[in-house]
Symmetry: C2
Subunit: 547 residues, 2 copies
């Protein structure tokens, strides 16, 4: 802090105007006030220093210097994970945590709620002949969200502590050091981030108990505080889990993980929704999917390939289920006899993921769903995933009163409607639509041998919403070029970027198919969340590129 | 094919000029020639049809219709993996493969080298009273790289077959169907892609045996054929392996996999080497690293985070070890007492990867190194990774005759020189330099408590080349802002993108550190390859954005 000074008042002009006089007077009063405050502060400091000299606990609490900036170790002892607390009953432990809240009950007693990961524990600090009132005061007033190194005795709680996840034990504090102090006030209370979003379209509002429902925008503007909420840790634990399960399943089935380029020399997949960038002295484009490249890996004789990577869509859609950057889970594989071999892999993959999420991420799933009052995710009891021909889906919708043509694409409301009908009929929130109309699929989709207006393509759905689109791809260069020329809009098979893709099928490409999942969608629909942005760490949409 | 016609000759003008007459005459001759050719073709076809009607094998070979385009299954039988061939001795098997080469020995005998994955097997087809000469001819002339469905008897080879990876067995062909025919000629022989690159700077050249050493450019221009080479399959199997080992090790240690945004609202990490893109009605930038975001995850109370994702550098460097897009393996973690906790994780991670590569990818590693005559990768015998203070490295280099100041950065040749000295002294190709000069590190690096001109930062090296850069990061907002302002060049801590990063440290951020690896570099230096492009599927550099 800069030294205080009376300079402004002293520098007043020699023949002051009325206003200037008033101002000078004000400045003087202000300076006097400051001087008085300073004197008080000094007196308090002296009083505190005197007290400190008598403070029997003075080496057991306080603010530590910035770890790493000085040549010392903050506690120089092993720190424990609170999930193992039961093993330490009756013993002294040291652990890192942060402050959910701290409150002084009296001059002799303070309570703190401490959090470490998803665990919270109650801690008590009581003055005694071995622990000073000064230390109790310090502990009871430490700011929320500060990071601490705490040493204490693990004791059985006299009765279950309902306000903490660890209900059977409490910590009797012996030492408490602040490793990193949180500023006050916080721009967002982590506690408020635990509560549901206001209904779509609504801004911030108060619930019955007077606590606010904070808008998504406010949360995302303060995302690093928002993410601290347990519900958000659960969402991203599950997202990490989906990646882990995806890889676990596919590595076991001999898929290899690849990284295809995200910077492309041409907008080869169609120019409308592509981001353009300056690439030295030319233009380049961000990949809208790894489609062409994962197929080119098939033509490079890698029989089973997968990728987890960013996908970029310059789509000006401001909906609850679109992002301009999301994570694609992609796979592509040779098949031997029929493209349903690929569909089976996709179905089995998702069944594996759902079943394992139910096992390995049960608590996280329940925590999130409980906040949003979401039904559990119904899996087919038979173990057989409903595989519904598109034409059958149309029929079901028509019988339920929807009006649509045989080869029409489904609108989002129609998809959701079909989801409800399938759930009713098959008892499953997960199903596949097969044999989509050719005209509404990409040009590289293999036409159906059953009906030239259909195609060997499919979508996978969760709760009536698409999570994966896939197909058998054309593996013959001439047919591919023909279908590109006849596509609406037509694609030039000799165009930049496209030619290399088409040519890669000239040298003995095997029959193959695959699919691309949106990772955030899988998480969103698994948990039944109202907005896909909740499943992206730092979501990107047409309005948002920060933080 | 379009119907032939005499129209051009018939349409000649009534009073033709000399030139026109000549032209008409030529057209006429051409038409006559074509008609003759057509007649010959017809005769041959009739002859062939006659022969076919006597062809006892006519249902056992030929070109299949495009799989999936007709409602049939090509072989309608289980297909085997050639790696299990020994289990099928004496039995009939069906498998997919492609043609390495096919050659007719006589009218009654042909040999084929067939490949499936990394396995190759010799197949023989011999005319008999059950197998026609027509079939032998078809098999002996099928084009290289065509994809086949082959049925044959597995027989013990009379003597080891040196030209195949499967040396003890051969296939006696019973049926051979072309699933996808390769065009001729191939723009690049896969066989040539198995051979080393010409020495740097050289273009294509012939080796002693007359076979060409094809330049990297030619290979990359025909990358999908190039990638078919066994050496390239080995490289990318190892790359997949490094990802797998990275995740396996870190998941076990409670790291979580995250995806941070690649599109940023501001060039927050310094503007020089960043790609700019058009983002709706504004500008945005491609992430040069996940640095800010992985730290913001630490401040979001995720204690251990990792990412595998693309990294974009708009650096106009045309060297053998730079790419404009590569794969970052990143991690960041809280530590409790000292940043060497982080260094230990990084060292143990790499030791785990190296040891497991030696176990799980021994064959692939040896295949690649044998082509380039590369020494094995030396690991520290003691198990202790050499941890060399930067000042000690300077001393070693000076003693070896290099001239440099105490706080100078090392040049690439100096780094390589130090690598040789460390190998000599410690017997290890893997080591860490610790406590780098502060001035040559990013602004968010924690200064050293030992010497204010040093920092708590480190690089990891393989064979004298950097594969990972890391450090303890400043976790105090005020110190971070100060160091940014004092940095050369200075960074505005209140700038777009930067402010949110700095502010995230205001609410109790724990001490933390991490590191970022270049995946392609790990693979390159593990194998001792001359160019990093060989470790990127479709490499991107200032000159190349295709295919």
């Amino acid at each position: 802090m800069a030294e205080e000074s009376n300079a402004p008042a002293a520098a007043a002009p020699a023949e002051p105007s009325k206003n200037a006089l008033k101002k000078a007077q004000k400045e003087k009063e202000k300076a006097e006030k400051k001087a008085a405050a300073k004197a008080r502060e000094l007196a308090e400091r002296q009083k505190k220093e005197a007290a400190d000299s008598e403070d029997i606990s003075k080496d057991n609490y306080g603010e530590l210097p910035l770890t790493g900036s000085k040549d010392f170790k903050p506690t120089n002892t092993d720190r424990v994970d609170l999930s193992t607390i039961a093993e330490h009953e009756g013993k002294e432990v040291t652990f890192r945590c942060w402050v959910e809240n701290a409150r002084s009950q009296s001059a002799k007693l303070a309570f703190l709620n401490l959090r470490q990961g998803s665990n919270t524990v109650q801690a008590v600090v009581a003055a005694s002949d071995k622990l000073s009132k000064q230390m109790v005061k310090f502990c009871g007033t430490v700011s929320t969200e500060s990071t601490l190194a705490v040493t204490g005795l693990v004791k059985k709680a006299p009765e279950p502590i309902k306000s903490a996840t660890i209900q059977d034990f409490e910590i009797h504090i012996l030492k408490l050091f602040v490793e990193a102090k949180a500023e006050v006030p916080l721009p967002l209370q982590v506690d408020d981030a635990e509560r549901p979003l206001p209904t779509e379209g609504e801004e911030e509002k108060a619930e019955a108990d007077g606590r606010p429902l904070v808008s998504l925008n406010t949360r995302l503007n303060n995302r690093t505080l928002d993410l601290r909420a347990k519900i958000n840790h659960a969402i991203f634990d599950i997202k990490d889990g989906v990646c882990q399960l995806f890889l676990e399943f596919l590595w076991k089935r001999k898929f290899k993980l690849f990284q295809t380029p995200k910077i492309l020399g041409a907008a080869s997949e169609g120019g409308a929704n592509v981001f353009e960038l300056k690439y030295f002295d030319r233009s380049a484009y961000l990949a809208q999917s790894p489609q062409f490249y994962k197929q080119m890996l098939i033509t490079s004789r890698f029989p089973r390939v997968m990728e987890i990577g960013p996908v970029f869509r310059a789509e000006n859609s401001n909906t609850a289920r679109h992002l301009t950057e999301f994570t694609g889970l992609d796979l592509e594989m040779e098949f031997q006899e029929h493209y349903h071999e690929v569909m089976s892999v996709l179905e089995d993959l998702m069944l594996f993921i759902f079943n394992e999420l139910n096992k390995r991420f049960k608590e996280e799933t329940e925590l999130v769903r409980s906040v949003y009052h979401v039904e559990s995710f119904k899996l087919p009891k038979s173990g057989e995933v409903p595989r519904i021909p598109f034409q059958e889906g149309i029929k079901m919708l028509r019988e339920a009163g929807e009006e649509l043509g045989d080869y029409d694409d489904l609108t989002t409301p129609q998809e959701k409607h079909l989801g409800r009908l399938v759930l009713e009929k098959y008892g499953s929130d997960f199903y596949v639509l097969d044999q989509f109309p050719l005209a509404i699929r990409p040009a590289y989709t293999m036409p159906s041998p059953l009906d030239p207006k259909l195609s060997n393509s499919y979508d996978l759905f969760m709760r009536g919403q698409e999570i994966c689109s896939g197909a058998q791809r054309i593996h013959d260069a001439e047919l591919l070029a023909k279908m590109m020329r006849e596509h609406d809009p037509p694609i030039d098979p000799n165009g930049a970027g496209t030619k290399e893709y088409v040519d890669s099928f000239r040298y003995g490409a095997p029959p193959h198919g695959g699919g691309g999942f949106g990772l955030e969608r899988i998480v969103q629909f698994w948990l039944g969340l109202p907005n896909i942005r909740m499943c992206s760490l730092f979501p990107r949409d047409p309005q948002r590129v920060t933080p």
